[in-house]
């Protein structure tokens, strides 16, 4: 537009032979550039120069965009995740007078995890923020052994014990609100400070390490003895079926009533786990999982509550997906707190070390990818003798889990 206006202004006079009307503007209207026309002053850059300048500007923007993308690419290695498990729980009164039991809201878990994964190293920190306080759950420094494509790694810090299936499994993935009774007793807090090697080769899975042994629920931030515990699992994963055997050997210092001084007692576990996945029901996938653990010296609070006591237990879990968003699960678990010891009675209450079986049912629904709601009903059945009766301790849990 600007070019047209200026060329008309500078139009040379026509040759005499040409008809004047063809080039001369009408005499009544003086030649004016249109109101919206640009005027190009003398010495201004040409169109080509301006195009070239614009191209450079675009290239500059492209470079800035690339730089930004490169910066963002580095940030992609940093990942934040977490979940909150909020609950309403109802436990029936222990007897007909209405004593005992509860009806309460709780925040069971409030996890926030930061993971930075590079080619050779991984940083992982997880905290748990709940009404009782904020605690450190995991603090892991991992080295991926070079040349192994991150299939072999060494981790030091505070981490989960490499034992069994349900212990290391994330609570956000589990169908039931809590782990089975045997796992809660044999692997209290599931975590400890130590170092472990993690390896994968084709279908084989190996994880083993050296740990303080007392766990993070021991109430101390440092181990109370020099004895280290060796814990590991050798497993396999064939997609539709997976499993493994786990072992734990260590010692715990403690004093039984018969001891004059503290002495080292064996702390050991043996476990086997199996998970099978089927796609036979048209409604959705089906899984059957089971685990058996037997061990000696167990329990929270310095592991001294059941010093040198042998115990065992197992669970069986059946999960049926119904479509994309729903699932139903049934779990039966049993735990004998003292192998070979006969069940006892304390008046009309069962003895503290009587075996307990628990039947649980859970229905869960996913609202999109971030929210899961589950309703669980659990019926603990404590074995009884004589006049003792099974306590009324059935538990209903309604849980909302938000995860990102």
């Amino acid at each position: 537009m600007a070019q047209a206006a200026s060329s008309q202004e500078q139009l040379p006079p026509p040759p005499a032979s040409e008809p004047r009307e063809a080039v001369q503007p009408p005499a009544t209207e003086p030649q004016q550039p249109p109101a919206n026309a640009y005027s190009v002053p003398e010495g201004s850059p040409s169109i080509d120069e301006r195009l070239s300048a614009d191209e450079h500007r675009v290239e500059s923007l492209e470079e800035q965009n690339t730089e930004t993308k490169n910066d963002l690419s580095a940030l992609k290695k940093l990942r934040f995740s977490g979940y909150i498990q909020s609950r309403y729980q109802y436990q029936e009164p222990l007897d007909d007078t209405g004593t005992g039991g509860f009806s309460r809201f709780t925040v069971r878990r409030g996890r926030l995890k930061a993971t930075y994964t590079g080619d050779l190293a991984q940083f992982m920190l997880q905290i748990d923020a709940v009404p009782a306080g904020v605690t450190l759950r995991d603090a892991e420094a991992t080295l991926f052994i070079p040349g192994t494509k991150q299939q072999l790694s060494l981790t030091m810090g505070q981490m989960k014990w490499p034992f069994g299936y349900e212990g290391p499994q994330s609570s956000s993935d589990r169908e039931f609100p809590e782990r089975s009774r045997v796992v809660r007793n044999m692997l209290p807090s599931e975590r400890d400070r130590g170092a472990k090697v993690n390896g994968r080769y084709k279908f084989l899975r190996v994880s083993a390490g050296v740990f303080d042994g007392a766990g993070t629920d021991s109430g101390t931030t440092q181990d109370n003895d020099k004895e280290k515990d060796i814990i590991g699992r050798v497993g396999f994963d064939l997609k539709w079926i997976a499993g493994g055997v786990s072992g734990w050997y260590g010692q715990d210092l403690g004093k039984l009533p018969t001891d004059t001084f503290r002495r080292a007692y064996d702390r050991s576990r043996l476990g086997a786990d199996l998970q099978a996945y089927f796609d036979v029901v048209p409604l959705g996938g089906t899984s059957l999982k089971g685990e058996f653990i037997a061990g000696r010296t167990y329990g929270a609070a310095n592991n001294a509550t059941h010093l040198d006591v042998p115990a065992h237990g197992w669970y069986l879990l059946l999960v049926q997906n119904i479509g994309l968003n729903d699932a139903v699960a049934v779990r039966y678990d049993t735990f004998d707190p003292h192998n070979g010891q006969a069940n006892t009675a304390n008046g009309d209450m069962p003895g503290a070390d009587n075996a307990v079986d628990t039947l649980g049912v859970v229905v869960q629904h996913h609202f999109g990818e971030n929210l899961k709601v589950s309703a669980t009903y659990e019926l603990p059945m404590t074995q009884v003798v004589a006049q003792a009766s099974d306590p009324k301790d059935n538990l209903f849990t309604l849980q909302m889990q938000a995860r990102f």
């Binding site: 796609d279 959705g284 899984s287 309703a375």
Partner: protein
């Protein structure tokens, strides 16, 4: 109280009963390398089955596999094999192992500008270039000019394939510029005379494809070389499902693997699996 709880559980169970999946619509999401191929399949399939609707979108293999996990796609397209962590997440969520279908073959092609006199490189030379150890074309028989690296975003299956197969798991040089699709890489290389990039064969138009030297022979990413396995950078292109296929999803996969579907693979520029 027990009765109340029982009634509550039954009511909740009934409320949470699953909604039947929308019949007649199949969503396909993932690998940008496979988008054109899947769109062609979808067009041909819908022409034969007018009541069916196939929705195809890209975003990268990682995005498609995440969508499969989140339940927002029926089929995930991926130009790399599913990672163990992704597989474990799917299995934990849906209680069944995912199903994998190899639906086509592709040769990952390295492109240079048409003006570049280099036309053959070894995998080792490519590795040195993309790790940043070789910075001049002169070192590999070209002009005395700096090498300009173009790469893909890390959600891309092609990125993962090159990282694993060419770089041996090491990280790309920081100088490599990441671009949001193979078409963008091709475009950039066609404009930058010292550029090098990579992508699927289907996009390799208007620029020069490098031959890959193995031993004393150099192999171009041709159909014969990819199918025979002589071309060192060939790979499978996959469809992933949460479980075994059924209904509309099965019908679409059957079509993709049929003679007609595999003919489309060839038309688009990839290589059939059958």
């Amino acid at each position: 109280m027990k009765k109340t709880l029982r009634s509550s559980l039954v009511a909740l169970g009934l409320t949470l009963l699953p909604l039947a999946a929308q019949a007649g619509t199949v969503t396909v999401k993932g690998s940008d390398t496979m988008v054109i191929l899947a769109q062609r399949w979808a067009e041909a399939f819908m022409k034969k089955n007018p009541s069916m609707k196939i929705q195809v979108t890209g975003g990268g293999s990682g995005t498609g596999l995440a969508a499969l996990q989140n339940g927002t796609t029926d089929i995930a397209m991926s130009s790399r094999e599913m990672k163990e962590a992704e597989e474990e997440k799917l299995r934990a969520r849906y209680n069944t192992p995912p199903t994998q279908f190899s639906v086509a073959k592709d040769g990952v092609t390295f492109y240079v500008n048409e003006a570049n006199k280099v036309d053959t490189l070894t995998v080792e030379q490519l590795k040195a270039i993309y790790l940043g150890d070789t910075e001049s074309w002169k070192a590999v028989g070209g002009a005395d000019a700096p090498i300009v690296l173009y790469s893909r975003e890390n959600s891309s299956g092609t990125y993962v394939f090159v990282k694993d197969t060419v770089l041996g798991g090491d990280d790309f040089a920081s100088a490599a510029q990441t671009l949001p699709g193979t078409a963008a890489v091709v475009n950039a290389v066609s404009k930058e005379k010292n550029g090098i990039g990579y992508g699927g064969a289907a996009y390799a138009k208007g620029i020069k494809e490098l031959k890959i030297k193995k031993g004393n022979e150099a192999f171009a990413p041709t159909a014969e070389n990819v199918k025979s396995g002589k071309y060192p950078l060939s790979r499978d292109l996959f469809f992933y499902l949460r479980n075994k296929p059924s209904g509309d999803v099965k019908a679409f996969i059957d079509f993709a693997l049929s003679a007609e579907g595999q003919a489309i693979v060839t038309q688009v520029g990839y290589f059939p699996v059958k």
